[in-house]
Amino acid sequence: MYIWALLILPLFSAVLITLVTRRHKDLSSYISIGAVLACFFIVLPIFLRFVGAPHTEHLEGSFRWIGVPGMLVEIGYLIDPLSVLMLFIVTFVGTLIHIYSRGYMHDDPGYSRFFACLSLFIFSMLGIVLANNLIMIYIFWELVGLSSYLLIGFYFEKPAASDAAKKAFLVNRIGDFGFALGICVIFYASGTFNFLEIAHQVHAGHLSPNTMLLGSLLLFCGAVGKSAQFPLHVWLPDAMEGPTPVSALIHAATMVAAGVYMLARISFLLYAAPPAATTVIAYTGAITALGAALLALGQSDIKRVIAFSTLSSLGYMVMSVGVGSATAGMFYLMTHAFFKALLFLCAGSVIHACHTNDIWHMGALSPKLKITATTFILGSLAMMGVFPFSGFWSKDEILSAAFANGDMVLYGAGVLTAFITGIFMTKLILVTFFGKKRYHGSPHESPPSMTIPLIILAVFAVFVGLVGIPSLHPNFGSFLGLHGAEHGAEHGFNMTVAISSTIVVFAGIIIGFLTYYTGTIDPDKMYKRFRGPYRLLENRFYIDHFYDNFIVAKIYNQVARISTFIEVNIIIHFCINGPAYLIRHAGLFLRSTITGGVQHYTFFMVTGVVVLIIVYALT
């Protein structure tokens, strides 16, 4: 029963802050932090129990929510290694980011509102993780969308922020539509929403291959929206309008990873479906990974660079699921949660110090922000996947899986992404923390409530990868116990892959170093020579332009015009205003008989009586 507390506590905290303690800033933040911390301490013993005995039976509990003949909708939890891992990440990173926010948001007028939204988010996210059926995951899926909307639009008086919030919500809606259809397909085919029962039916071969293909592709649509995969990736970079802790928690560590979590949850379906499903997933991931890494090169806003690197990482995870190793995807999800949250929080600390997002207005910050700079560099090394930081192990898992899968295009895309990641992360470090002084004022290190989470996250970002060393037993993969596709499941530590990826990363770092530190490669000359491609990158491949000017302006607006015509003319004018007009004019006509003259009334009355008499006499 204490598992329900995971949902009740954050929800209660959100409600309490909204209704009662909104005016007391400190109290609100303590309630919110207390709720997420309590969740962490509920999760911790379960997590440790599962780590101690990886093959523990899963726990499932539920109650009936809607029960009609032929359909049962439950609200329930499913605790297995996969959800325990995710619970641990969400509550642990969540706690650190809550604590960090206390410092980061210190004199914001919306302080209490911020914490209420964070609690709402924790509630929704834990709901996704715990869900034991598709309907429940869908409900909480929408709830994280809502909290994401509220938090992106946190500075709603800023037009860019409210636009970004709307964009995120609407773009997600497209993906969620597919998700909803997918749920319908699966329910239609299997007659249940429950994951374990669906898995049972899939293993028993009750679902036809085409149904499974359709179902998995439609469910994947949900992941495309939430995990910001190409072509619905456009919302994530704009989502950086929200406060930085939000970017760290929601748009890097947890919510955007929910898509990957969901794919891992339904991996039994993906791997049982015809290979076309996983191929689509793998290529979507690879395109996103490579495209986003390229785009990150063209950005100069510290948060946007990290945002694009997040996109790229999400692409990696999705590709990993696609090449048949959901385990590697989840492993990358875990390491990514730590190092990306760390990077965002460091970026927040830098922004806090410099009051700007533009890396060209920073430079030489490392002596001023020692802790931030150190942790940022550690996080970046993990992100780039340098041996032996966490990113190395998780990226290596994915690349090995791609290599073992045998599709060299995917493998090449992965390696190329690693190379470009090396370049732009090096650029980010060098331009922000080293080189010439370009900042104004006197930046100072952030308060301990911000730096302590950085240090804790940095420790995890460095070491957490060690749990996934392939030669260890038991290691991460055996803990998770996901059944991968046959070809991708069993692959050891591939020396070729490890060495080649290390070489390309170092090549990337060296190019970055030569360009942005020693100046051997002059960035301005490069910019002049490759002006065209650079402009392409700066404008994000014109995908946003394409959406704005073609999809929205041409197609969407035409549809909107037709809908408006139908709405205004048929629904409003005919169906609603029509009867009103009729009644109004009938009233206008009838009231002309109310003259106020007594004799008129008498006349009508007498006439009526006479008519009655005549009628009576005639019949």
Partner: protein, 100 residues
């Protein structure tokens, strides 16, 4: 020989005169008087029926009617006086404020 028909014709004539008075005359006092006429035409017919049908109930109703008519006229005249004090007119075509 005066028969029931004669009484009924008288009653009908009085009734018609009364209705015409209510419909045509503008003076509210005349209208009130015309209504009394209608009233009494009914009383006549009731009394006549009572006489010719050898039943006392008609007569009793007439007596009730006269009592009620007295009270009604008292109220009607009182309202009339109040209206006159306020509006300084007794013509119904000027008393037409209760309208749309």
């Amino acid at each position: 020989m005066v028969t029931l028909t004669h009484y009924l014709i008288l009653s009908f004539l009085l009734f018609s005169i009364g209705v015409a008075g209510v419909l045509i005359r503008r003076n509210i006092i005349i209208m009130l008087m015309s209504m009394e006429l209608i009233f009494n035409s009914v009383n006549i017919s009731l009394a006549a029926f009572s006489y010719y049908l050898h039943s006392l109930s008609g007569t009793i109703i007439v007596i009730f009617n006269i009592t009620i008519a007295a009270a009604e006229v008292a109220i009607g005249l009182a309202i009339l006086v109040a209206v006159y004090r306020r509006r300084k007119t007794v013509y119904v075509d000027e008393l037409n404020k209760l309208r749309y």
